[in-house]
Amino acid sequence: MRAANLAVQCAGVPMRNPVMPASGCFGWGREYSRYYPLRTLGSVVAKAVTKEARPGNDTPRIAETPGGMLNAIGLANPGLERVLADELPWLAGQDVPVWVNVAGSDEEEYCMVAAAIDASGMADVLELNVSCPNVKRGGLAFGTEPSILKGLVTAVRRVTDLPLFVKLTPNVTDAGVLAEAAVAAGADGLTAMNTLRGMAIDLDRRCPVLANGQGGLSGPAVKPVALAMVYQLARTVDVPIIGCGGIQSGTDAVEFIMAGADAVQVGTANFTDPYAMPRIIAEMQTWMERSGAASIAEIKGAVH
C-alpha cells in the first residue's frame, strides 16, 4: 500500500480531490452542508444561473427510470441578482473552489451573466450549459451546432478571464466536432456530459410522466455513454475534461479518470445517497492505494 494523493489542478485551479457535484444536483451547496463540510469536496458546482429569475417547468419534473431518472426542471433559478446577493456569498466562504453554471437564451444573456459573476469575484470557474435552446437561432440548442457554439464561446471568452468550461450535450452525432469548436473558441476545458434526451409514460393517465413531455436522462444507466464520450474527447482535444454521468462509486470515478478525465462530477448519486461524494472520495483513495497508484496523473488516460 502506497499513500495516494488525490489533489489535482484543473485549468489552473487547485482542488483537494477530483470530485465535485454536477450542476443542478447540489443546489447552492448549503442544502448538503448539513451532511458534511463542503471543503471535503474538490469543488462545488452551483446550479444554472440566468439573467432573470425563472420559475422552471410545471410538475411532475422528475421520473424514475430503470437505472436512472429523468428531469425537466427547466433552469429554475432565482436569477443573477439574487444569486449574487443570496447564494454565492455564502458559498464563496466555504474554503472550496466555486464553479458557476451559466445558461441563457441568447449570446447576450450568457455574456451578461458570465461577466457579472466574474466581476463579483465569487467564482473560480465558469461552466457554460449549452443544452439550452437558442431563441435567436430557431430554438436549436447552443451545443448542437458547431458554428453557433463557436460564436457563443468566443463571445463569452471576451468578457471573462476566469477558466471557462463548456458542458457538452450527448445528444449530437459527433461530440468531437463540438468539442473542437469550443476549444478553438477559447474554452479552457470541457465537461462531458449533460443528460440524454428521454421520456417516460404514465400508462394509467395515458400521457408522459413529466409535465414537460421530454426530460433529461441521468444516473447509472447513462454511464457507458458518458465514458465513451470522455474517451472520444480525450483523443480529440488537449484540454482538461470533467467526466460526468452515472458516477456512483469510487471505481466509477476511476473509470472516468482512466478514460481521460481530469476530474469528475456527481449528480444523481447525491439523491440516492446524500453522502455519495465523501464516500466516492474515500473509495477512490482506497482503490488507488490498493492498486499502487500514487496520484491521479498516474492513472489519467490509462486505457488509451
Binding site: 443542478g24 444536483c25 447540489f26 443546489g27 442544502e31 448538503y32 446550479k47 420559475p55 422552471g56 410538475t59 411532475p60 419534473r61 422528475i62 421520473a63 424514475e64 430503470p66 437505472g67 436512472g68 431518472m69 428531469n71 426542471i73 429554475a76 444516473g219 447509472p220 456512483q248 444523481t268 448519486a269 447525491n270 439523491f271 440516492t272 445517497d273 446524500p274
Partner: protein, 249 residues
C-alpha cells in the same frame, strides 16, 4: 442513517405499517415531517421514497410509518424483513405548525391520513378538541380508525358508501355541527382544492400537506416544487406543509 425494521403489519390490503428503530432525531419530529427511504440497491431505484412519519416514540426510540404499495418502490419496501436495515434520511421538511387555536379539524383522504395521526396525538395532548374527517375508497381500505377515535370525534366517508357516509372526506364537512378554529389536511389534490374553497368561504385558516415527486428531498434539485402565492416553493424543504391560503391548487 440506518434504521432497523422492528415490526411490519399489513393493516389493510396493500397498506403496511412499519416501525423503525435506531439512531434518529426522534425528539425533533414535527407532525407532517417525512423520512426519505432508500429502496433497492441504487440501480433498480436511484430515487428514495418520501414517507410521512405517522407516529414517533421518543422514549422507545422508534417511529412508525404507514404506506400503500403504490408501485415498485413501495413494493420493495413492503418486502423488507424484520431486522433488515433501511437507509433513511430525516426528519425532513416543515411540519404542521401548532397554533393557539382551541379546536382543530383534521381532514385526511386515503394515504394522506398517516401524517394526521401524530398531529392528532400532539393536538390532543395539548388539550385541543380534535375532529377528524377520514375518507377511504371502501370500508376494507380503512386503517388506524380506533387510534384516531381515541383522540377525538371522527367522521368517516367512503366512496362506495360501505362505511360512514358516501363520498370523500370533504363531503363530511356538511355534517359538522361547529366550525373549527383551524384546519389541517392531507390527501388527493381535488380533495384539498374543495377544502380550500370551503375554508376560504368560511374564513378559516389552516395547513395542507402536499405531495410531489422528489429526488433530493432537501431542497437542492428543484424537482418537487409547488406553486404558492409567493412563487415556486419546494415541497421537500419549504413544505410539505403550506398555509391553505398560500398554496395554489
Amino acid at each position: 442513517m440506518e434504521l432497523k425494521v422492528l415490526s411490519k403489519n399489513e393493516v389493510a390490503t396493500g397498506v403496511w405499517e412499519m416501525t423503525l428503530g435506531g439512531d434518529f432525531s426522534y425528539e425533533t419530529v414535527q407532525p407532517g415531517q417525512f423520512i426519505h427511504v432508500q429502496v433497492g440497491d441504487g440501480i433498480t431505484h436511484v430515487l428514495r421514497r418520501p414517507i410521512s412519519i405517522a407516529d414517533v416514540s421518543v422514549s422507545a426510540g422508534n417511529l412508525t410509518i404507514l404506506f400503500r404499495m403504490a408501485g415498485r418502490g413501495t413494493r420493495w419496501l413492503s418486502q423488507a424483513r424484520i431486522g433488515d436495515n433501511l437507509s433513511v434520511m430525516g426528519p425532513l421538511g416543515r411540519g404542521f405548525p401548532m397554533t393557539q387555536a382551541k379546536t382543530a379539524l383534521l381532514v385526511g383522504g386515503g394515504i394522506g391520513i398517516p401524517p394526521l395521526y401524530l398531529l392528532a396525538r400532539r393536538l390532543a395532548e395539548q388539550g385541543k378538541a380534535v375532529t377528524t374527517l377520514l375518507g377511504w375508497a371502501s370500508a376494507e381500505d380503512r386503517f388506524w380508525l380506533p387510534a384516531f377515535e381515541r383522540l377525538g370525534h371522527v367522521e368517516i366517508s367512503t366512496e362506495d358508501g360501505s362505511l360512514g357516509m358516501r363520498g370523500t372526506a370533504v363531503d363530511a364537512l356538511a355534517v359538522l355541527e361547529n366550525l373549527p378554529d383551524t384546519i389541517y389536511a392531507c390527501g388527493p389534490r381535488p380533495m384539498l382544492a374543495a377544502l380550500k374553497r370551503w375554508a376560504l368561504r368560511h374564513g378559516k385558516r389552516g395547513w395542507f400537506s402536499m405531495e410531489e415527486r422528489m429526488a433530493c428531498g432537501v431542497g437542492a434539485c428543484g424537482g418537487c416544487v409547488c406553486r404558492t402565492e409567493g412563487g415556486m416553493e419546494t415541497v421537500c424543504s419549504d413544505g410539505p406543509v403550506f398555509a391553505l391560503d398560500e398554496v395554489m391548487l
